[in-house]
């Protein structure tokens, strides 16, 4: 039993933006795996829900001729895991998606809901941060595109203005082509658990053993997912070695704002960041075509 006052079902994006413009109290519901839990816990009361689930234009994943990949926000985690475009082009995102929830949750939960919910632990977010994903937001008044890094404002807070719907998650060809990536979800239980730390690393290699680019996205290392800019800047142009990788791990900690919670202490989280960034980077190097570093 949920405290649902109204349940609207929009068939098209136009209908959804019209309804949102007319009724600012509406809460968008996609898979509902966050919204319904919040209602269960009484964080949302007497909800007026607007289901966008049936809007065709927000579903599915496609690759444009120029290589740009457009992920519809209603794509479920199961679909991300199995999608040929993702598997062939951004397998690290499929890895991250598979680490999320259990099968029943993945069958229902959407990637758009994962982002819009604003949790620092969102399993798709750290990878999308590393990929410099951009988000298209549409309202009755028009549309805008924002980098995902700017979309996250604080814990559970995203830059979604009244009446706006996330309509596209966009990954540019320059942000995935030639990169290898790896995602590590560290949690207390192997499955069905929220991450204690999520680490997404993608990297590109030139001249066999030089970092052309390294990008590190972390979840649960601060109030929002974040990038480790200092470590990334250091890595660029460096020869790949155990020492370089160790230094990247150390520098990654500098970008974090870890805190103590019941899941883990600040010190433990920082230790995890240093260690898991190195492990994820080592795996990413191999996937980018580099040699294995023990």
């Amino acid at each position: 039993m949920y405290n649902i006052k109204e349940y609207y079902e929009a068939a098209t994006l136009e209908e959804a933006t019209e309804l949102l413009a007319a009724n600012p109290n509406l809460t968008i519901i996609a898979g509902g795996t966050d919204v319904l839990i919040k209602m269960h816990h009484g964080q949302i009361e007497k909800a007026e829900l607007l289901s966008i689930r049936k809007i065709k234009s927000l579903q599915g994943i496609r690759k444009l001729e120029d290589g740009t990949i457009i992920i519809g926000p209603l794509t479920t985690f199961t679909q991300v895991v199995n999608d040929p475009v993702i598997k062939d082009n951004i397998p690290v995102l499929a890895e991250a998606a598979l680490s999320m929830g259990g099968p029943q949750i993945r069958n229902v939960a959407t990637i758009g809901g994962n982002i819009c919910n604003g949790a620092t632990s969102a399993d798709s977010a750290s990878t999308l941060f590393a990929l410099n994903a951009r988000l298209k937001l549409q309202s009755k008044l028009g549309e805008r595109v924002v980098p995902i890094q700017e979309f996250y404002l604080g814990p559970g807070k995203v830059d979604l203005k009244a009446g706006e719907i996330l309509t596209e998650i966009i990954v540019a060809p320059g942000d995935y082509q030639g990169y290898g990536g790896h995602y590590i979800k560290f949690s207390m239980r192997k499955v069905m658990d929220i991450a204690t730390l999520g680490v997404a690393v993608i990297c590109k290699i030139k001249e066999r053993n030089i970092f052309a680019d390294v990008r590190i996205g972390l979840g649960v290392a601060g109030p929002t997912p974040l990038r480790c800019r200092e470590a990334e800047a250091f890595a660029k142009g460096k020869t790949i070695s155990r020492e370089t990788i160790a230094e990247i791990g150390k520098l990654a900690v500098k970008s974090t704002k870890a805190r103590t919670s019941w899941r883990a202490s600040k010190e433990y989280r920082e230790h995890l960041v240093e260690e898991l960034t190195q492990r994820a980077l080592k795996a990413a190097i191999v996937k980018a075509g580099g040699e294995e570093i023990a």
Partner: protein
């Protein structure tokens, strides 16, 4: 609270039209409006899998599906697995013969998750079975027998040529 103007859905092959309040879940619709009490409520918030049913062929937690969302869908519950003549589904037989049931509370959900797996992947490895059941908790059996039961059911289905 406004009544949803009648939800039409198919459950276990049978068409239903039910008038329900706007705020109930598919789980409540099944148990309280259709008296299909095989589907269990454990946690009520997506964590345990006791309420697992197949919705349009996919395993979902029915406690996280607002009834209104089930409009037009096809739902399969544990009651729909046996043949009309009462013959049990191989998964049900294997759970019994392997001793994969103790208190039985998790069993309907386990079997429905396993059914979703075998429909898509008739010859799963133990590892694939573990992943498919990772959203279902059991307090009693320790899982080994459950996984073995699913393996056995897969072999039975392959032998019999039935799903």
């Amino acid at each position: 609270m406004k009544p949803v103007p009648r939800i039409k859905l198919k459950v276990n092959g049978q068409e239903y039209q039910v008038e329900v309040p706007a705020d109930i879940t598919l789980l409540e619709l099944l148990r309280e409006y259709l008296s299909l009490t095989g589907t269990k409520e454990g946690c009520g918030k997506g964590e345990c899998g006791a309420c697992t049913v197949l919705m349009d062929g996919q395993a979902v937690n029915s406690c996280l599906v607002p009834a209104a969302k089930a409009e037009g869908s096809e739902v399969l519950t544990i009651e729909g697995l046996a043949s009309p003549d009462g013959r049990l589904h191989p998964l049900q037989e294997a759970f019994i013969s392997e001793g994969a049931v103790q208190c039985g509370f998790c069993t309907p959900g386990m079997i429905m998750s396993a059914k979703a797996l075998l429909d898509q992947n008739p010859h799963p490895t133990r590892e694939e079975i573990k992943v498919a059941l990772s959203g279902n908790l059991c307090r009693c059996t320790g899982y080994a027998k459950i996984i073995t039961a699913v393996e056995k059911a897969a072999a039975m289905i392959a032998g019999e040529g039935r799903g």
